[in-house]
């Protein structure tokens, strides 16, 4: 593989790309010129506005073809490696079945005074989020959604009673760092009550930084716009790792 590459239209190195966008400008030659200018600034030069049409009185939609002058240096490509692969629901189910020979039990809820179940419901409800079904949809997951305002002792009690493999807590309210205090309280309670045998602890919410897991005493933190599929794939990965470690 060559180190330096350019987009491929129909000839090596031609740099051809296609893009479309809308500008808040009434349609006409002036709008087309504006589109060409934007394309040039994007590095497309020469840019051909191959199509434009008005959307209402105030907007114009464009399709642009042209050659970008940029060159990709493949040696410079850095990707954030997720330490686990994203699995489809079917893959999650078959892997878990092989791994556990029983359903994986997930207990979830909003702890503290937080009544915003938007996050936990997006992950757990079959309705799901961002086009992905929630964890309830997975045949090999048993999901217990405790809903809003669950106290930490109640969460620990239910997690034990259900023999939970994983506990998911969602925190949306962040006034006075309530989400951080609540999560720490939760992880401390599990450590005290169950020690090494505690379930996987997972915290999620829009204001969490995924780097805070250690600080919060949980195994994993998920931030904004996490999808159910990512959580399910992580569960598989974590269960697998735990099993390998104890083997």
């Amino acid at each position: 593989m060559k180190r330096h590459v350019r987009p491929y239209g129909d000839t090596t190195g031609d740099g051809m790309v296609q893009t479309s966008f809308t500008l808040p400008v009434p349609a006409g030659p002036h709008a087309d010129g504006a589109a060409r200018q934007l394309a040039n600034k994007m590095g497309i030069d020469p840019a051909m506005v191959v199509h434009s049409h008005p959307i209402g009185d105030d907007f114009t939609f464009f399709v642009v073809y042209g050659s970008v002058r940029h060159i990709v240096d493949l040696d410079d490509v850095r990707v954030v490696e997720r330490e686990y692969p994203l699995l489809s629901p079917a893959e999650v189910n078959t892997t878990l079945k092989k791994l556990l020979r029983r359903k994986l039990v997930v207990v979830g809820g909003c702890i503290g005074t937080d009544a915003h179940t938007v996050g936990i419901d997006a992950i757990l409800n079959i309705k799901g989020f961002a086009g992905e079904k929630g964890l309830e949809y997975y045949r090999e997951l048993k999901v217990v959604n405790l809903g809003a305002q669950v106290s930490v002792p109640e969460l620990v009690r239910r997690a034990r009673a259900e023999k939970a493999d994983a506990v998911l807590v969602s925190q949306v309210v962040t006034q006075r760092d309530a989400h951080i205090h609540n999560t720490r309280e939760m992880s401390a309670a599990f450590r005290e009550a169950m020690g090494e045998r505690r379930p996987l602890l997972i915290a999620g919410g829009p204001r969490f930084d995924p780097l805070m897991a250690g600080e919060l005493g949980v195994d994993r933190v998920f931030g904004r716009s996490t999808t159910p599929g990512e959580v399910a794939s992580y569960l598989v990965h974590a269960v697998q790792t735990r099993k390998e470690e104890s083997a």
Partner: protein, 532 residues
């Protein structure tokens, strides 16, 4: 014109089985009330506003009152008698004043007897009648506006979703959508509203992937669409969601603010939101009585089954659900022309002959429910992010809709599962619909599936499977079938789920003036519009 040659006896059997399956559930629905039904009744009686002093945020007055009545004397006799007795006892002018006194701890609710009971009943009936008159006036106003401005010139009607989270932005988007050809605007609700056990108050600007359904938001959007209706010269309809824990209240608010269509499925909340089955069936019955009175077209949610189960294997569960939805709707007083039964184009495009199978399923729904304004919903499950391929798939979806005479077409977006649609995505989607309507709008005239061809055979097969499943449901009981995961693969036991604690068995002296007025509502007979 019948193209599938369905056996009328099989169709009659299917309906009979659906009625038998529904019968015990209807009995349960009649024997219970819920906190939401009681709150809906008070909303019809005129209560509005919220307690803004509560530390947990605004609590609607109606929740305050119903919760307190329940605490003091239970809800098994209904909320109307204790509330209107207290109103008179304390000599208060409005329910809002009563709510304020309730919050201040000044009211002790009790069930009135003898002459007190008769007086409270009369006062409650008068108040609720006023609310129902508003609903009636709105219906008449809609009829007048439709007569003056006209319905969309074509079928299917073009149904478009807006969802910004901010009602003011929604208004901008809805106006543009109507100008670009949308006949029906649906304002998607904020994620998770279905699980709130109260209806938020006022105009809202911060929803999650949607805008809260509130009475004020309803009013703002309906007024905006009335303006744009005049501009575009056709009556643009407004849709919202009467589902979740506040189904009956939202139905009432829709009636009070002249919404035109409401998503209202008999089982969606149970299956996809894990709401208690009894709660759902009780709430559903009341909400449908309200919709019937308000002339609101309900939209059922069968599309959802196909997003979880396989669209070929589970095709018959859609038919079964449509038949059940139809029966529950008829029982609640909704005529055929208000039944927007749902179905969807969700077969994996990699399945051989997938388009012919889609035509078979769509045609089956059309011929089983000839007078219902069927709602045809676009692909979502097999939209991959490849927007070019998605645009093609949406084109085929549009063609299937036109060819099989669907009534309401929810416009598919090529950005499904990618981002919320750009202005240009919506414009392109409408161009797709316009092209198909323009190029093939009359094609159904020439469309005659071969009598022994795949389409006809498949339709017969699905209907047969639906009849078999209905027979099993009659044997097992509908509630057990739901508990066993018959629909959409979800298992929901009758005593589980959210909102179960809001269900109350009615006592002998139960009184609800709204139910009484709605039960005796004159049922209309003549459809006002052709479904096809």
């Amino acid at each position: 014109m019948a193209l599938l040659d369905l056996d009328p006896e099989v169709v009659a059997t299917a309906r009979e089985l659906a009625a038998r399956a529904a019968e015990p559930v209807v009995a349960i629905a009649k024997a219970h009330t819920t906190v939401a039904v009681e709150r809906a009744t008070l909303r019809l009686a005129g209560i509005t506003g919220a307690d803004s002093t509560h530390r947990a945020g605004d609590v609607p007055w109606v929740n305050r009152v119903v919760d307190t009545v329940r605490e003091h004397c239970g809800l098994e006799h209904g909320v109307a008698l204790p509330v209107f007795h207290a109103l008179e006892e304390h000599n208060l002018a409005t329910l809002t004043e009563l709510a304020e006194a309730t919050a201040a701890g000044q009211v002790r609710y009790r069930l009135p007897e003898g002459r007190d009971r008769a007086r409270a009943r009369k006062a409650a009936t008068t108040a609720v009648t006023k609310g129902i008159r508003t609903v009636d006036r709105n219906r008449a106003r809609r009829d007048r506006l439709v007569a003056k401005l006209g319905d969309p010139p074509q079928r299917p009607w073009i149904y478009l979703i807006v969802a910004t989270g901010d009602i003011d932005e929604d208004v901008v988007q809805a106006r543009n959508a109507a100008r670009a050809g949308a006949d029906v605007i649906a304002v998607i609700r904020s994620t998770g509203q279905s699980l709130l056990d109260y209806v938020p108050e006022g105009a809202t600007h911060h929803g999650f992937a949607g805008t809260y359904a509130t009475q004020e938001n309803f009013r703002i959007m309906r007024a905006a669409l009335d303006d744009v209706s005049k501009e575009v010269g056709r009556y643009v309809r407004l849709t919202n969601y009467a589902s979740g824990l506040c189904m009956p209240e939202i139905a009432v608010l829709a009636g009070l603010q002249r919404l035109d269509m409401m998503l209202n499925d008999s089982m969606y909340g149970i299956l996809f939101r894990d709401i208690n089955p009894i709660r759902t069936f009780v709430d559903q019955r009341f909400s449908r009585q309200v919709h019937a009175r308000a002339g609101i077209v309900i939209n059922t949610g069968e599309d959802n089954y196909l997003t979880t189960a396989d669209a070929v294997d589970a095709a018959h569960t859609v038919t079964v659900s449509q038949l059940l939805n139809e029966h529950f709707a008829h029982e609640a007083g909704l005529p055929d022309h208000l039944l927007g039964l749902g179905h969807a184009f969700e077969i994996n495009p990699k399945v051989p002959e997938s388009f012919r199978l889609e035509l078979a399923h769509a045609l089956l729904a059309r011929e089983l429910f000839p007078d219902a304004p069927l709602k045809w919903m676009p692909p979502t499950k097999h939209m991959t992010g490849d927007v070019f391929n998605g645009y093609l798939l949406d084109g085929f979806f549009n063609l299937a809709g036109v060819l099989t005479g669907q009534s309401i077409l929810l416009v598919g977006m090529m950005t499904e599962a990618v981002v919320t649609p750009f202005l240009s995505d919506r414009d392109l989607a409408l161009a797709n619909v316009r092209y198909v309507l323009g190029a093939a709008g009359g094609l159904s005239e020439d469309f005659r599936p071969a009598p022994d061809g795949l389409i006809v055979k498949r339709a017969h097969q699905v209907l047969g499977e639906a009849v078999d499943l209905l027979a099993r449901i009659v044997d097992d009981g509908l509630l057990d079938a739901i508990a066993d995961g018959t629909f959409g693969l979800m298992k929901r036991p009758a005593d589980g789920g959210k909102g179960a604690d809001g269900v109350v068995e009615k006592a002998d002296g139960y009184l609800n003036p709204a139910s009484e007025l709605l039960e005796t509502a004159p049922r209309e007979t003549a459809p006002q519009e052709e479904a096809r």
